[in-house]
Subunit: 151 residues, 2 copies
């Protein structure tokens, strides 16, 4: 995925809605793209508010994240207790997540058959799916081996 293209599309999106294309918004897209695929808002705030140049306020971060969600470049992918982990999903194909409850690592996976089965269930229930989220919480292989070493 090309960030420049993404930004152009985002500009289009903003204009279509009568919103304005501002430096803060475009800067934030860059920041988020360079941050890594998974983040929590508070982390992002620290990363972005700190940066001397083109820093934006906490409010703007929240507001822009919301816009980017509507635009479709960002999703809430993991909800754990009071934490919300977002994903910069622009251009990424759909997938689900394994979450290690020990080290917090997030592993992505995709299983076609699972998607198909979901569609099947929805058909049976006469339910029109819009989006879904499958989170599997557990222990990743590294954390497992470090357990063994402890013995």
């Amino acid at each position: 995925m090309d960030i420049q293209e993404l930004k152009r599309n985002f500009e289009q999106f903003l204009k279509q809605r009568g919103y304005k294309v501002t430096k803060s918004r475009l800067n934030l897209v860059d920041k988020i793209a360079s941050y890594g695929s998974h983040f929590e808002i508070e982390q992002l705030v620290h990363y972005v508010v700190g940066s001397s140049k083109d820093g934006v306020s906490r409010s703007t971060v929240y507001r822009t994240v919301k816009l980017l969600q509507e635009f479709g470049a960002i999703r809430e992918v993991i909800k754990l207790g009071n934490r919300t982990i977002y994903e910069f999903s622009a251009g990424k194909p759909h997938h689900e997540h394994l979450v290690c409850v020990e080290c917090g690592k997030i592993i992505e996976f995709y299983k076609d058959e699972i998607e198909e089965l979901q569609d099947k269930v929805c058909q049976e229930m006469d339910f029109t799916p819009l989006h879904h989220r499958l989170e599997i919480f557990g222990i990743c292989s590294e954390c497992k081996s470090s357990h063994e070493n402890r013995r």
Copy 2:
């Protein structure tokens, strides 16, 4: 599932941990059981704090819900924006949820094959699953038909 039995088990659980078996806690189990299977904490608080007899405070509701989660009788099943919907899952077999984004209705379903595929993925990834949550957001059949009527 028999509530009396559940309460006895919960008492056991409390004793094992050196916690105390109090009226508030047992009352709350009754209240939650009679509330219906899905709830948000604030609803529960209103339901429970209001009740003249054996009412408990908001703090106790939070504290007890947490205990019941550890005990395994309650789970966070739906996370939507800032809302958390809990389920009184005691004795219920595992299942997933369809959530109507229009009317808020929650439909439960279970698909063996989906569970199996998840296990398979975890094996491939050498990941030990502890629990998971699959939420499918969409439009239920009633909401769909009311759309049609609007035309």
